[in-house]
Assembly symmetry: C2
Homo-oligomer: 261 residues x 2
């Protein structure tokens, strides 16, 4: 009779961009805490819109904090990407089995994948050969109800923990902010070509000098029914597999043929 | 006889991530200034490693500054991506014909495309349907010699100004930091799977508390001869066409087939 190999508990690194104080990261931990050893390394302040920023010119700090009983947790004064880098190098001293980021307070579908600190943290893990996913709820409020989202987070996490997933697997998961009974399920999608049309609000300070606040309207320029925006509009949880090879191979071929230098 | 249509001067938006004070942006302007109307909107301080970060929680400022005689120039207190957004909305009040970013002091090949403020600025333009390119010289020094780079910057800018380029065309151009006579020409490449292996330097402050500085060694995990890293190692200027659709279509198909929720 073969000797059963001792099954070790998988290590699950959890981070976000809304900071350790955001209810979304608590909901994420609650959704998966019995699936492995959870280690949280999250920003000490909100880092929304930080994209893939890293901290070069400043030193970073790590602080062990109380988060949820029985969960090892740290805050970092850097960006979401810094959190993942520091977690691997100075907290875990090695790679976790998977990395989960979120649950973000607000959508990260379509072009937002590029601006999102939540998704950039997950992408950093993917670059490091750690299967990962970023989760976002389509409600930016700090009072958002994360309960319906939890079962989908858990389903995706269980898939990531399967032994045979691609080591660079990276999923952008968005969850409609509706009653759980109305969610139709999970749909694998492509990233919609939908974006924000900027409109800076111009104001003047008490000294008469202009300053600007970034605002914008969301515009969907993509009529496809295979996109994340379509899925969310139709009450599905959208799952987009994301890659960090940004090469445009179609254009590469065209330029090789048509451009003579 | 047909009446020749009045040819309008193209508008070229120029930005970077090393700030308006960096020699690299001056070299970029010098390389292309007779090709159109140049407008510079650049960060007022270094913004390397800012990736696609945007400023959400702070107001932005624009200041008209003297840069090079005859060149309209502004500084912005935000990120490189903020510079492009503000330039389009509040300086140009419309889209430029092309956007050029750089010349960066230091390489932005392989995975660096994701962390680079230089490339993120160019990508922001591409999202806005403005053909664009980011330029980087493989020498991080402020005393780097940008002269040999200029002719390649100009060649690429001239290609971008052709009428028939894809409106989302986005090029990541890296230039070897060698004598111009040794550069073999321009090569269209794919992004190498090469990255930095993090190694945080741990120190203690005067109060005994730990802090960390991000450092790392560059490691090329990609043996292909069609990559940007290979081209640069072999004295070519590398040009990688870059896209902002991050969908991994291969994995999408696999998940659609294999994952049942």
């Amino acid at each position: 009779m073969k000797k059963a190999k001792q099954k070790e508990q998988p290590v699950i690194l959890i981070t976000n961009d809304d900071s350790i104080a955001a209810p979304g990261i608590k909901a994420l931990v609650e959704a998966v805490q019995d699936l492995g050893r959870i280690v949280v390394v999250a920003p000490d302040k909100p880092q929304s819109g930080m994209g893939h920023a890293i901290t070069i010119g400043q030193p970073l700090r790590l602080h062990k904090v109380h988060f949820i009983d029985g969960i090892e947790a740290y805050t970092c004064n850097g960006t979401p990407v810094d959190c993942v880098k520091l977690a691997v190098d100075k907290v875990l001293h090695g790679k976790p089995d998977i990395c989960l980021s979120g649950i973000n307070h607000g959508a990260n579908h379509s072009i937002s994948v590029i601006y999102s600190g939540t998704m950039s943290a997950a992408m950093e893990a993917s670059i490091e050969s750690i299967p990962s996913a970023g989760f976002s709820l389509l409600n930016p409020s700090m009072e958002a109800d994360f309960e319906p989202a939890k079962q989908y987070v858990r389903q995706v996490a269980e898939k990531l923990l399967q032994k045979k997933v691609d080591k660079h697997l990276l999923l952008n998961v968005n969850i409609p902010a509706i009653d759980g009974s109305l969610i139709k399920g999970i749909k694998i999608c492509r990233q919609a070509y939908a974006k924000y049309e900027e409109d800076f609000v111009e104001r003047r300070d008490p000294h008469g000098k202009k300053y600007y606040w970034l605002t914008g309207d969301f515009v969907n320029l993509d009529k496809g029914k295979d996109t994340d925006v379509w899925a969310l509009d139709n009450n599905y949880v959208s799952v987009v597999p994301v890659q960090f090879d940004l090469t445009n191979y179609t254009l590469k071929q065209q330029l090789e043929t048509n451009w003579k230098f």
